[in-house]
Amino acid sequence: MEWKKGSAELLILSLVEARPRHGYEISKLIEQRSGGTVRFHVASLYPLLYRLERRGWLHGRWVEKSGQRRRRYYRLTRQGRRVLASQLRGWREFVVGINRITGVENA
């Protein structure tokens, strides 16, 4: 499927908004919530996570929970939160614009 530029970033940022999650959890959530239509592979998910981390939007940290192997959890930074807010706004405007053009009116 075609992606709006930046939409993958938006997905990830919004998923870690509530609480820190590790990479596998993020990929599972995207798959589940999109009903299987959107899927990230290792080869695309992690470069994206690292890029967001490099920009300072996410912060990754190794966490060891009892009984589990250690995983890297990503949480939203303050800067990431601001970016997410503005991207959400942009996304909504985009959706509203598309709807107007295509004539799909809200009832």
Partner: protein, 905 residues
């Protein structure tokens, strides 16, 4: 369980990431694939299919690398604990610093001990160095002080008594006119004048100076003006320039004082100027023997030169300071000066030659204090070395624990150089922390030193913490850090780190090499403290010997009262006699007073009048035939009061006044009339002209000038042999009880006779003796302080090392005990191992002390530098302290419960 990492690493290889980053990514992605694999298994796939699907997530050979390349290649942040060589040197150092801070914060006890001992060591060194800097190194506080020199006169016929003399007035005038090598020459002599203020009269120390002196020194009054050349002469000399400190303390820094008059010796003097704070008059120790300047001058006054009294070969009373002309060498100046001196001698026609010497002012300062100060610097340096050794030992003890960390870091890609750098950064950080605290301590130390130091140390007022001292503190902090940090760092760099990873962290045993290293460090500590203790012991014995030296008089129960007779009201001998007669009579009636006498100068309170004495038959033309003696004017009761024994004949009495009788000391009798009875013999003395005296009695020799010099030849007389302004002197009172109890009575009695007579000192005679050995005592106390610090630190070191080794060997000790070793055997074993380096160190220390003793033998009194009693005492003390330091942890070894020890770990 499938292996994911090789697959991931193969794909990452293209990116050439750092091993650390590569490992981290492989870890995370591997975990993801593992999760996926388990999920697939749970859906019922077979292992093979699940593996292939999971690996498929990596999507071909190069997708991962392509995705990561833009993110990873220009961005690589090294994880802080890893220690791989970074690309950026400075960011690496910052990282090391952050890490070092974290390590130090994690062990606060160790950090506190390290920083505190370092602070003490560095602080003490900085304090002593600032004294050395202020006294020995800093240039004198005069403009172009390297051009300044002291000029002294040499009378070849008298060099066996006095190698040099200060200058006399006529010579100075001739030099001023005839010498071209000097830009300027000034002279000065110490004087004191009475100054009356609220609370009574005080004796004010000052100097009479030529109008050229301040110009020569390159100093100018901060207020008012310098003296004018015409004010050098008698009658025009009623002006004073005040020193800054006196102006502040007495006149509250009132600038209006210039132009006003103050009263000195009951005469009026106009204040014409005030010196700047920066002006420090050179002290007597700088200007040479026979000059006498107080270290706390209050005023300068003009020379008061009387042209009618010119004696070309007498009154060598003035310190002369010259400023060499530009480009003139000392040798050039001296040869010109000697030509002029020869002319003066010829003109004087007294059968004596005249020469001169010129010494740079700066080198005069160094003189006798140099050796003492350098010794103190060496001693305090040794203490710092012990601090270093202790810290190195502490750090070495932490090495096994650090080895595991180092091994992990190496495995993650850190180079050995980086590991060493990290370890050195930690010690450097400790050094900097200790150094900063040390500088703080030093500033307290310096003020304590300056206030406690005896008056003999020159330029103490100039001692302060300046840029050079700070630089010194920084350098020793860094060097210290390098010294104690390099051993553990080197050790880590040269250990097979993989072995450290294999064995457990806590059980990593100390290698034999580490143990030997730690033992030799203990040996070094013990050796250094032994040397210091032996030297301090030698100083202590010297002082004890000195205080027990037979002075020839008894100072117990004697009160000494110094009085100064104002010249205006006591302008003749007779006036002085009247005052002393009345004072002695009044004091004699005070309760508790056994006897009372007076003398013009107390023993051990400075040199008095020194002149020649001989037989009437001696050729007067050649003074070198005469020995020199110390002359004193003393009342008849002086001898019984001081309990100076009469050996032969009798003491003069009141009835003998004016009869020119002399009482001599035994050494004079032995020198002039060997084997004969000196009673009734005539002798020739030169005290303001030649006079003949008759010897009436012989008294015991006493230590007159210095405790550590054999008794001088003494001549006592009842009256001054010429009429003069009455002498100041000391009234000595022997009491039944504590002499201090009589002080107020004596003061009252003197005040009642003449309240204008200032009492300049009132103290037990024992204090006079004790003061005369102040310099030695001060030196001894400091040496002892450093030595005890050294011993304390060394015993801490021993305690630490033995305790640590017992802790590490719990298991071994438990096994030995389980196998039947008796507790006593274990105790003996631990003690033996602990004491072996101590004994080696003691041996080395004794050898070191024997060598060092040669360097300080001139500072000792009546004791050899290899005094066996001191050596043996110190060896026993060090051995005993070390034994205790070993015994405490060794007893813990004895209490090890074999079961617990074996279960342990």
């Amino acid at each position: 369980m499938p292996e994911w990492k090789p697959e991931i690493l193969r794909r990452l290889a293209l990116l050439r990431l750092s091993p650390a980053r590569e490992a981290e990514i492989a870890d995370e992605l591997g975990q993801h694939l593992e999760d996926r694999y388990h999920e697939l298994l749970a859906t019922g796939q077979c292992e093979d299919a699940a593996f292939r699907t999971a690996i498929g997530e990596l999507k071909g050979e190069d997708l991962l690398a392509r995705g990561l390349r833009p993110v990873e290649t220009d961005w690589y942040r090294e994880p802080i604990a890893v220690g791989k060589d970074g690309n950026n040197f400075f960011s690496g150092i910052l990282q090391d610093l952050r890490y070092a801070l974290r390590v130090l914060r994690k062990s606060p006890g160790f950090t506190a001990v390290a920083v505190l001992t370092l602070a003490l060591g560095i602080g003490a060194n900085t304090a002593i160095f600032s004294v050395v800097n202020g006294v020995l190194l800093r240039p004198l506080a005069f403009q172009q002080s390297q051009q300044l020199c002291v000029i002294r006169e040499i009378v070849p016929q008298l060099t066996k008594f006095y190698p040099t003399f200060p200058a006399n007035l006529p010579s100075f005038r001739i030099w001023q006119q005839g010498l071209h090598s000097f830009e300027n020459i000034g002279i000065a002599a110490g004087i004191s004048m009475d100054f009356v203020r609220r609370g009574g009269a005080i004796e004010l120390p000052g100097a009479k100076v030529s109008s050229s002196l301040l110009d020569t020194l390159g100093a100018y009054p901060a207020l008012g003006r310098n003296f004018r050349p015409d004010e050098d002469h008698l009658g025009r000399d009623h002006e004073v320039i005040l020193t800054n400190s006196f102006w502040r303390s007495e006149f509250h820094a009132d600038p209006a004082i210039v132009g006003k008059a103050i009263t000195l010796n009951s005469e009026s003097f106009e204040v014409v100027g005030v010196l700047p704070t920066s002006f420090h008059f050179p002290q007597s120790s700088e200007l040479g023997a026979l000059t006498n300047f107080s270290p706390r001058l209050a005023f300068l006054k003009p020379l008061g030169e009387d042209p009618s009294q010119i004696d070309l070969m007498g009154d060598f009373d003035y310190a002369a300071i010259g400023r060499l002309g530009p480009g003139v060498s000392l040798a050039q100046a001296l040869s010109e000066l000697n030509v002029v001196q020869a002319q003066i001698a010829k003109q004087a026609n007294e059968h004596m030659d005249l020469g001169a010497e010129i010494i740079p002012l700066a080198s005069e300062v160094l003189g006798p204090v140099r050796q003492s100060l350098l010794f103190l610097l060496a001693a305090v340096g040794a203490v710092l070395l012990i601090v270093c050794v202790n810290l190195a030992n502490l750090l070495l003890a932490r090495v096994p624990r650090r080895l595991r960390e180092a091994a992990i870091r190496t495995a993650l890609g850190a180079s050995r150089a980086r590991l060493v750098r990290q370890m050195l950064t930690e010690s450097l950080l400790l050094g900097i922390l200790g150094g900063s605290l040390g500088i703080l301590l030093a500033s307290f130390g310096v003020s304590t030193f300056v206030s406690a130091a005896p008056p003999g140390v020159p330029r103490l007022a100039e001692v302060s913490i300046d840029g050079r001292v700070l630089l010194f503190a920084i350098v020793i902090s860094v060097v210290t850090a390098a010294l104690f940090g390099v051993l553990p760092a080197w050790h880590i760099a040269h250990t097979e780190l993989q072995d450290a990873l294999k064995s457990g962290a806590t059980n990593t045993t100390e290698s034999r090499r580490t143990r030997r290293l730690r033992s030799s460090l203990i040996g070094l500590e013990v050796a250094l403290s032994t040397v210091l203790l032996i030297l301090a012991g030698l100083f202590t014995s010297s002082l004890v010997h000195l205080l027990h030296v037979n002075t020839g008089f008894s100072a117990e129960h004697v009160l000494a009262t110094d009085v100064d007779l104002p010249p205006r009201s006591y302008s003749s001998n007779a006036a002085g006699e009247r005052f002393y007669d009345q004072a002695l009579a009044a004091i004699r009636t005070l309760p508790g007073v056994l006897s009372v006498g007076w003398i013009n100068q107390l023993p051990l309170a400075g040199e008095g009048t020194v002149s020649v004495i001989g037989l009437p038959s001696t050729n007067k033309a050649d003074v070198s035939n005469f020995p020199l003696a110390d002359f004193r004017v003393a009342s008849p009761d002086y001898f019984s009061t001081m309990e100076i024994p009469v050996v032969a004949g009798r003491i003069y009495t009141e009835a003998d006044r004016g009869r020119k009788l002399a009482v001599i000391s035994q050494r004079v009798a032995e020198r002039l009339w060997p084997g004969k009875d000196p009673r009734g013999q005539l002798c020739l003395i030169n005290w303001s002209g030649w006079k003949t005296f008759q010897v009436i009695g012989v008294v015991g020799d006493i230590r007159t000038v210095q405790m550590d010099k054999s008794p001088a030849m003494m001549v006592y007389m009842q009256d001054l042999p010429f009429d003069n302004v009455a002498l100041g002197g000391s009234i000595v009172v022997r009491t039944m009880m504590d002499p201090s109890g009589a002080a107020s009575g004596v003061r009252e009695a003197i005040n009642k006779i003449d309240s204008n007579v200032p009492i300049t000192a009132l103290r037990p005679m024992t204090e006079v003796i004790s003061k005369s050995v102040d310099t030695r005592r001060f030196q001894m106390l400091l040496a002892l302080l450093f030595a005890v610090c050294a011993l304390f630190l060394a015993s801490l070191g021993i305690f630490g090392v033995v305790g640590y080794s017992v802790e590490r060997r719990r298991q071994e000790l438990g096994i030995r005990m389980a196998l039947g070793a008796a507790r006593q055997d274990l105790l003996r074993m631990v003690l033996r191992q602990g004491m072996t380096p101590v004994i080696a160190g003691l041996g080395a220390g004794v050898v070191g002390a024997l060598l060092a003793g040669r360097l300080i033998s001139s500072l000792l009194f009546d004791i050899s530098a290899n005094d066996p009693v001191t050596l043996a005492t110190v060896v026993l003390v060090v051995a005993a302290v070390a034994l205790v330091a070993c015994f405490v942890p060794a007893r813990r070894a004895m209490r090890v419960d074999p079961i617990v020890a074996l279960r342990y770990e």
